[in-house]
């Protein structure tokens, strides 16, 4: 793969004096939005990132894409996102190692069964092929699976995994081809607003830029950035750890996860087992150091599920940040106080897989003013009267 970029993201060039659309955050959400907006004909778009591309959660996640959720909105969004994933390689000219091996949710806590059954019915109504599976069926899907303690599972064969890094390069490359300017290592330091709340100038570590519209796609760092423009949003960063093993001959078809226990793992197209495990005791914070405790917890859980993994060697561990929203659902759209800043944040560990469709919808909304119902449901002002009761419960990690 060789992509020639008109203005290399690593260049030290100054920013242009003005832009109709400044996207802050060069992760997948920001790049997908910039690419789609450019495709709709908007010119002179600028993307800035404070570090290198792939430095944040977009470069640190497990690459899972799935349609199994508890909210119909999330199911529909992910049906559309996975459709985009299917054509991404040919449309963007980059191999993203996309493989639809399904997601297998296992249930060890019987209290979770009724809700899972209801979710599967709802997913079926949306047209998703999820089905409940018995422990013995689960063992057929995953050879070597130890099903002791497993009551039931749900399996959708159309869920999948991909390799996050080339997905970013695909969007970055095509955006650059369409004239988008992408600047890495540029941090935003402040905003200037008109009286009505609209932002007119953004100050960065590489100078000021006049803006028509701003997208805040900074994930776990978005509350901090929003605060600089006087907007308070309730999403918060939490560290999540992940690891990868030596590559193995393909044997594991789906992503395997245990509902409510935080563990997930799959086999990438490169052959590695890639997996993580959320820690319910993880404090809020934006650090991403690695711990031995995570290795031990993950290894214990993974080898109890598939004992043969005991001989598989861990080669690398790292951590990234979940951008956790109070109801587990994204925070999308413009806060009343700043009508020309679109928030695309709060994805609670699911931003990578939702970005292909969210970037498209956000671009249509910004460029053409298209009404997007999901943005009404997920509007940033919904937390004014407390946390909505209807939470997304199929969160992994």
């Amino acid at each position: 793969m060789s992509l020639k970029m008109a203005i290399p993201p690593g260049s030290r060039e100054p920013l242009p004096a003005e832009t109709p659309l400044l996207v802050i955050g060069g992760g997948i959400m920001g790049l997908a939005t910039a690419y789609n907006a450019a495709k709709l004909g908007l010119r002179d778009i600028v993307v800035v990132d404070r570090s290198f591309l792939c430095s944040g959660a977009s470069g640190r996640n497990g690459g899972g894409v799935r349609m199994q959720w508890s909210s119909p909105n999330d199911v529909e969004l992910m049906q559309r996102s996975i459709d985009i994933c299917k054509h991404f390689a040919s449309e963007m000219g980059v191999n993203v190692w996309f493989r639809q091996g399904g997601y297998l949710f296992l249930v060890k806590n019987p209290a979770l069964i009724p809700a899972l059954e209801a979710n599967v019915r709802m997913q079926n109504e949306c047209g998703v092929r999820t089905r409940m599976v018995s422990p013995s069926e689960a063992a057929e899907i995953v050879p070597g699976l130890n099903v002791s303690g497993v009551h039931v599972g749900s399996y959708n064969p159309d869920d999948g995994v991909l390799f996050p890094w080339p997905f970013i390069w695909g969007y970055a490359h095509k955006a650059l081809e369409l004239g988008v300017r992408v600047y890495s290592f540029v941090d935003v330091v402040g905003f200037e607003k008109h009286k009505g709340g609209r932002i007119h100038t953004v100050h960065t570590t590489r100078g000021a830029i006049r803006v028509g519209h701003v997208v805040n796609a900074t994930g776990a760092w978005s509350p901090e950035l929003s605060a600089k423009v006087g907007v308070s949003i309730p999403n918060r960063p939490y560290r999540h750890e992940i690891l990868t093993t030596e590559p193995l001959k393909p044997f594991l078809t789906p992503m395997v996860t245990v509902l409510g226990e935080g563990i997930y793992f799959s086999q990438s197209m490169r052959g590695e087992i890639v997996g993580g495990m959320g820690d319910p005791n993880e404090p809020q914070g934006d650090h991403s150091t690695s711990s031995l405790g995570f290795l031990r917890r993950f290894a214990e859980s993974a080898t109890s599920l598939i004992p043969a993994l005991g001989n598989v060697q861990v080669v690398r561990q790292w951590a990234g940040l979940y951008d956790v929203s109070p109801d587990g659902k994204p925070i999308l759209g413009e806060p009343a106080a700043v009508p020309n800043m679109t928030l695309l944040v709060g994805f609670t560990g699911n931003g990578f897989m939702m970005a292909p469709i969210i970037g498209k919808l956000a671009a249509e909304r910004i460029v053409h003013g298209t009404k997007v119902p999901y943005f009404d449901d997920y509007n940033p002002d919904r937390f004014e009267h407390g946390i909505p009761e209807n939470k997304e419960t199929m969160i992994i990690g």
Binding site: P8, S11, L53, R296, A299, T303, N311, Q313, V314, V315
Partner: protein
């Protein structure tokens, strides 16, 4: 055509790295994400210095500091059964086969 392999775990060629640098990936972290170098079993121990040198040579006069990528644990590959072991004697035996440390029996003296 002669192919020069820089990252032997992931088969990343010198020409891949040169193309990536020319394409705008002008720091070691970006090169890792762009080419996948350093993500195999050796985790960059045999190639990251070469990549730094290739980057320095290609950037020539642009004199920016070149840093290695963030090293990630573990230092060398570890089987999951040892990580999953609950009693510490098993963890101590991790050191046995390498010959640099005494095994658990010797350590108990």
């Amino acid at each position: 055509m002669t192919k020069i392999i820089v990252c032997r775990c992931e088969d990343v060629l010198l020409s891949d790295l040169e193309d990536a640098i020319e394409g705008g990936n002008q720091d070691v972290e970006s090169l890792k994400r762009y080419t996948g170098f350093g993500t195999g079993v050796c985790q960059g121990k045999s190639c990251v210095a070469h990549v730094g040198a290739i980057l320095a040579a290609q950037l020539e006069s642009k004199a920016v500091p070149i840093m290695p990528f963030t090293p990630r644990p573990p230092v060398s590959p570890i089987p999951m059964r040892l990580l999953a072991a609950k009693d510490d004697t098993t963890v101590v035996s991790l050191r046995g086969p390498r010959g640099r440390h005494k095994g658990p029996a010797d350590g108990a003296k």
